[in-house]
């Protein structure tokens, strides 16, 4: 379903979309367009904007290093150009690492981000149970 979601390959495009998404959650999914794990954005379209970012693009590398993306797919959330963190019990609160088990999980996560953002919170807790949260080992760079 990747044709539904917009794929960004340039830094400028990412900048624009971060700046122009107002009062909606911006879901930046860093991955490969060939990645079969794609989510439908229709259910969250009222309060969220979902875009794919091609990790293989050269211009995007600066974002990949800035956001410390080491695993793909990685999802970063923004609200009004402010980065939203989510505490899902994993080592990295700055992004969601891995795929979502169900479509509803994705919707729940985005909704939790939205609610927290509307209340003025920059970090929200994950509404999903731990078994549905993908686990990973976070290694410090150069280690």
């Amino acid at each position: 379903m990747s044709y539904v979601l917009r794929t960004l390959r340039k830094k400028r495009e990412v900048d624009t979309i971060i700046r122009d998404t107002i009062d909606k959650v911006l879901v930046l999914r860093f991955g490969r367009s060939s990645d079969p794990l794609c989510k439908s954005a229709r259910e969250v379209s009222k309060f969220a904007n979902v875009v794919l970012v091609d990790i293989d693009s050269d211009e995007i590398q600066v974002y990949a290093s800035y956001f410390d993306i080491t695993f793909i797919p990685s999802t970063v959330f923004f609200f009004n150009a402010h980065h939203m963190k989510m505490d899902s019990g994993t080592a990295d609160h700055t992004k969601w690492v891995g795929a979502f088990h169900k479509k509803q999980d994705f919707i729940d996560v985005v909704e939790a981000i939205y609610r927290g953002a509307m209340k003025g919170k920059l970090i929200v807790s994950c509404p999903l149970p731990s078994e549905r949260i993908p686990k990973y080992q976070l290694l410090y760079r150069d280690v």
């Binding site: 009062d23 800035y66 410390d68 980065h83 963190k85 700055t94 509307m118 003025g120």
Partner: protein
């Protein structure tokens, strides 16, 4: 037996339901509420066993404030008479009473010459003050408001002086005073009225003025008393009541029909509160030589719809054509301001395009959006910038090629701005060494020292 009595702890204070001993140390842990006798709170109008704590309860406090404000309103009438002493006609004296809530006593005005005479004296008395203090202690309430519920001696002294002067004026005045009601008033309009009461020519002007002045006259009785009396009066048959139907029944010798209408106008327009005043005034009025009592009723139907209001100079007549128009409140037409807004709404709807409608919707939404939401300031600023861009204005945006959002990085501590700056520094450091390492390295074969020596030899 003695051993038993020794082993037993003596309990000299047996606990009963009515005792005031505290049960605080009963079980050693939980503090139980003090049990006291049932008392009646006259503020809340209920029995309670909360003792002294009751006055701090919020329900009691609200009841107290309403209770005191009600009494205060009654006292305001008394204070009026304190400042403007008025003589009290004997037939009204029986109706004037005040219940003092602090002293729990009824204050009558029987046999008093001035309005609220007994009430003023009571409120200034030492007993009342004592009871007032006791009340405030018992039921709570601001002690600094003590003076609002009593009358100070200085004020009483002034009032008594005024009363004396009024009494003297009463004795001196021989102008055919119309009863005790209007005589002692300092109102100049009333004085004029007294002088010209028998002159028909000036009756219209004077009557109007007196209507003015009588509009200022204080109540001769308390409003609740009045309501009782007034309802009683309304049952009296309308023998003397003037309406236009009965106009012709007036004897012609009194005055012309026009002047009667003028009289009626001012009489009927009078505030219904002063109907009692009316009775005494009208009876002494020269017009009513047949001594009819004139009852003013609140029925304003007499007044309205009449066209012969020439005598009334306190009202400015505007065009009566308004009544003829079909589109008014009575016909159910929409009000003019509503029509205006409808037009403006239509105009607004016609003008904008889809984009601006969307922006309107968005702006409507933003009004409802939480101002404390994340990035609210940024959102507002950005919206303005976008609108300006749509209009074609050049916006100075700080979005350069190197722009990055504030991001809380994984391996950084500190604020997000700092992490962004750190990243930018790292980026620059990454770029510089790459530039330095661009020099090509020429690879040469290894030449040993022996080989160099041999080459040199």
């Amino acid at each position: 037996m003695e051993e038993q009595s020794k082993t037993r702890k003596p309990n000299p204070k047996p606990r009963t339901n009515t005792s005031k001993t505290s049960c605080a140390y009963d079980n050693g842990h939980n503090k139980k509420q003090k049990k006291s006798e049932y008392e009646f709170c006259k503020v809340c109008n209920l029995n309670h066993d909360q003792g002294q704590r009751h006055k701090y309860f919020p329900s009691h406090k609200t009841s107290l404030s309403t209770f005191l404000s009600r009494f205060q309103s009654k006292l305001s009438d008394v204070r009026f008479f304190l400042k403007n002493p008025c003589p009290l006609p004997s037939d009204l004296a029986s109706r004037n009473r005040l219940w003092c809530v602090f002293c729990d006593s009824n204050i009558d005005e029987l046999g008093c010459t001035f309005a609220c005479y007994n009430a003023i004296n009571h409120l200034a008395s030492a007993d009342h003050l004592k009871n007032l203090k006791h009340f405030l202690w018992k039921y709570g309430g601001a002690v600094d408001r003590l003076d609002t519920f009593r009358i100070l001696e200085a004020d009483v002294a002034k009032w008594e002086k005024k009363c004396k002067s009024l009494r003297n004026d009463d004795v001196l005045s021989t102008e055919g005073t119309i009863g005790p009601v209007l005589g002692p008033s300092h109102d100049i309009h009333n004085e004029l009225n007294f002088g010209n009461i028998d002159s028909f020519e000036n009756c219209s002007i004077q009557s109007v003025k007196s209507s003015h002045s009588n509009g200022v006259m204080p109540l001769q009785c308390y409003t609740n008393e009045y309501q009782v009396s007034h309802s009683g009066r309304s049952e009296v048959p309308n023998v003397g009541m003037f309406d236009y139907g009965a106009q012709s029944s007036l004897p012609a010798e009194t005055c012309s029909g026009k002047k009667i209408s003028e009289l009626m106008d001012f009489r009927v327009n009078r505030n219904s509160q002063y109907s009692l005043l009316y009775d005494t005034k009208c009876s002494a009025d020269g017009y009513f030589s047949n001594e009819r009592t004139y009852h003013v009723h609140e029925d304003q139907g007499i007044v309205k719809g009449e066209s012969s209001f020439q005598g009334l100079q306190n009202l400015t007549r505007i065009s009566t054509l308004a009544a003829d128009k079909a589109d008014n409140v009575h016909s159910g037409a929409p009000p003019p301001w509503f029509e205006v807004t409808e037009e403006s709404q239509i105009n607004v709807q016609r003008k904008p395009t889809v984009g601006s409608l969307m922006s309107l919707n968005k702006s409507g939404k933003s009004k409802k959006l939480n101002p404390k939401r994340v990035g609210a300031a940024w959102a507002e600023k950005r919206k303005i910038e976008l609108e300006m861009e749509k209009r074609g204005e050049i916006v100075n945006s700080d979005c350069t090629a190197n722009w990055l959002p504030n991001f809380g990085r994984v391996w950084q501590s500190g604020s997000r701005k700092e992490s962004r700056k750190e990243f930018e520094m790292e980026k620059q450091e990454f770029i510089k060494p790459e530039g330095k390492s661009e020099m090509p390295v020429k690879i040469q074969p290894y030449v040993s020292k022996r080989m160099q020596r041999e080459a040199g030899e």
